[in-house]
Amino acid sequence: MAEFPPPVRRISSEQTPNVVDPTNRNGIPEPIARAMAPAYGPERLRIDDVSIQYAGAARPAVNGVTLPVRQGEVLALIGPSGCGKTTLLRSLNRLVELTPGARRDGRILLDGDDVDAIEITRLRRRVSMIFQQPNPFPMSIFDNVAYAIREQAMRRPGRSVLMPRVEKALRRAGLWDEVADDLGRPALRLSGGQQQRLCIARALAVEPDVLLMDEPCSALDPISTGVVEDLIHELRANLAIVIVTHNLAQARRVGDHVAFMYLGDLVEYAPTEELFTNPRADRTRDYVQGAFG
C-alpha cells in the first residue's frame, strides 16, 4: 500500500464548525481555503450504481447510488432517517448480506476488484467497521484487540508476538496511555468513549484499507465525540474513511466530501464546504438549513 503524505487539514471547517462564514478563522477567504484543500489519493472504493432492496419493502432502501471513496479522505453520508445511508455503508463490507431477504444490485469495487469476488473474511479485514453502539467483546482490553488479529478461532500466536501489534493499534486509537497500565481489565469496565476508541483500535488492528463508521459518536458525550473526531482527522491520512452521521455539524467537521441521500437516492455529492454553503439541489439546501430532518 502506497503511503501518502498526510493531507493538510482543511482550515475552513476545522474548529469553527457551525459558523457559516465566507472567511475562516485565519482570515483566508473560502475559495482560497478550498483550493488549499488536500490533493486526495487514488480511489480505493467505488460504489457503482448500487441498489439494495429488502424483501417485502415497497421501494429499494438504496437506489442506484454511484460514489467514489478515495484514499486520505473522509466521505460523510448524511440524510434523514431511513434514507438508506446505513444500508449503503453496510453493503460496503457485505454486512448487509446478514439481513435475510436483502438483495444488492450494482457493483462495489475495492481497488478495482469486485467485492463479491473477494473472500468474505478477507474483505472484512480490508474494509473494517465501527458501529453506533460501542460494542467491545466481554473480554479483556488486550483480548479485544488481539481477537481481531488472531486468525479465526485460533489462540495462536501468543501474547508476546501480539503485544507490539496490540500496542500499535491502541496508540493509533489514542487509547494506549489510558489503558497501558492494566490491559487485563475487562473492556466493559471502560467508559463509553473509551469503549468506542477500543472498538476503533480493534478495527485498526486488522490494518484495513477502508474504515466504515456508522454514527460512531451518537452514543458518546461531547468530549468523547471531540476525541473521536480528532482521531478521524488523524486516521484519514492512511485510510479511506466513510462515516454515516445524523449530525450535520459533525459531517461538516470531519467530512472532506459529503453525500446527501434522501429516500434511497443520492441527491448530491460535493466537497463539504460546497455542499453546506452552496448546495445545488433544493432538497439539500432545505436539509442542511434544517427545514426538515
Binding site: R124, S128, M129, F131, P138, Q152, A153
Partner: protein
C-alpha cells in the same frame, strides 16, 4: 428495645406507612393485602416443609448412614446406610449432564445462530418443548422400550434367552439427559437472543467466521446462563423418580452388569436417593421410614445446594454484562 425517641424526631416508619395507606383506594388495599397473604402462605408452606424435613432428617442422619451400604433387612436397624443411592444419584447426574449439556447448547446455538433449514429448526424447537412438557414416566417407558431392543444389549445385561434387561446406568443416564435438555436449551437460547446484533456484527466485521464468533464471543458471553440452566437441569435430574424406577432398576445396591471394572457399573443397575425414598417410604412398600426421611433430607440439601449455585452464578454475571 425501648429507647425514648428524641424530641422532634421524624415520624416512625409505621406511622408514615399508615398515613400513606389512608390515601389508597379500598379495592387496592384489598388487592395488596391478599397479595401479601398469598405470599406469606407460600413462604409458610415452603418453610414448614423445610423445617419438617430438617427435623425428621436430622434425627436420623449420621455419618455412619452416609458411608455404609444399604442392606436387605426387615427391620430398620439392619438395613444399613445410603451410600449406594448417593453414588447412584451423583453418577446419574454426571452421565445425564454430560449428554444433555452439549446437546442442548448445540441445539440452541444452531437454532439461534443458523436456524436453517427453518422447518427443521421449528421441528427441533417444538420437539424440545414437548419433552419439557411430557411426564417423565412417559419418557421413561419409551426409553425402556428403546433400551430393551437387541441393538442395545451392550448397555445392560441380557438374560440367558437373549432378552435384554434394558435397565442400567447407561440407559437411565441417557434418558435422564432428556429431562435436563429443556432447561439448558431454554436459558442458552434466551441468552443468545439477548446478545445484541451489533456484537455479532462487530465480530463478522473483523472478518471472523460464524464459528469463530460463536466460540470466542458468544459462548463466553452466555456461559453464566448455560451454567444456570445446567444447575437447574441437574436439580431436575436429581429429583426425578420415574426414570430411575423404570430404567435403573431401583435395586438396593449397585449391581455391576458385567465384569469389566467401571464400565460394568455403568452397565449395571442401582438406585438413587429418590428411588430409595420411594422404596422405603412409610406409605409405599417401605419398612424403613426413618431411612426414607434421612435420604429425603440429604436429597433436599443436594437440590438446595444446586439452587444456591444458580444464585451465585446469577449474581456473578452482573458485573460483566454486555451493553444492551
Amino acid at each position: 428495645m425501648s429507647v425514648p425517641s428524641p424530641v422532634g424526631a421524624p415520624r416512625s416508619r409505621w406511622s408514615r406507612l399508615r398515613g400513606e395507606l389512608r390515601l389508597w383506594r379500598p379495592l387496592d388495599l384489598v388487592g395488596v393485602a391478599s397479595a401479601w397473604l398469598v405470599g406469606a402462605l407460600l413462604v409458610l408452606v415452603a418453610a414448614s416443609l423445610l423445617i419438617y424435613m430438617g427435623y425428621k432428617g436430622l434425627q436420623y442422619v449420621n455419618l455412619d448412614l452416609l458411608v455404609s451400604r444399604p442392606q436387605p433387612g426387615s427391620d430398620q436397624s439392619q438395613t444399613g446406610g445410603i451410600l449406594d443411592p448417593i453414588i447412584g444419584t451423583l453418577l446419574i447426574i454426571v452421565i445425564a449432564t454430560a449428554i444433555a449439556l452439549p446437546l442442548a447448547v448445540g441445539a440452541a446455538l444452531w437454532i439461534v445462530e443458523y436456524g436453517r433449514p427453518r422447518w427443521l429448526a421449528r421441528v427441533v424447537e417444538s420437539g424440545i418443548e414437548v419433552i419439557a412438557g411430557a411426564p417423565s414416566i412417559a419418557i421413561a417407558i419409551f426409553g425402556l422400550a428403546i433400551f430393551q431392543l437387541p441393538l442395545f444389549s451392550w448397555a445392560s445385561f441380557s438374560a440367558d434367552g437373549g432378552g435384554v434387561f434394558g435397565r442400567s446406568f447407561i440407559a437411565a443416564g441417557v434418558v435422564m439427559s432428556l429431562i435436563a435438555v429443556p432447561s439448558i436449551f431454554a436459558t442458552t437460547r434466551e441468552a443468545l437472543l439477548s446478545v445484541p446484533r451489533h456484537v455479532r456484527e462487530a465480530s463478522f466485521g473483523l472478518g471472523k467466521t460464524r464459528w469463530a464468533t460463536i466460540r470466542r464471543v458468544l459462548l463466553p458471553t452466555v456461559r453464566p446462563d448455560i451454567a444456570t440452566g445446567t444447575a437447574l437441569g441437574m436439580g431436575r435430574i436429581a429429583g426425578d423418580t420415574a426414570i430411575i424406577v423404570l430404567l435403573l432398576g431401583a435395586t438396593l445396591q449397585l449391581q455391576a452388569g458385567s465384569d469389566i471394572p467401571g464400565i460394568g457399573t455403568l452397565q449395571g443397575t442401582g438406585s438413587t436417593l429418590t428411588s430409595y425414598v420411594y422404596n422405603n417410604s412409610p406409605t409405599g412398600e417401605g419398612n424403613a421410614p426413618e431411612k426414607a426421611y434421612a435420604a429425603a433430607f440429604v436429597l433436599m440439601l443436594l437440590i438446595i445446594g444446586l439452587n444456591l449455585l444458580v444464585a451465585i452464578i446469577g449474581r456473578r454475571r452482573a458485573g460483566n454484562d454486555l451493553p444492551r
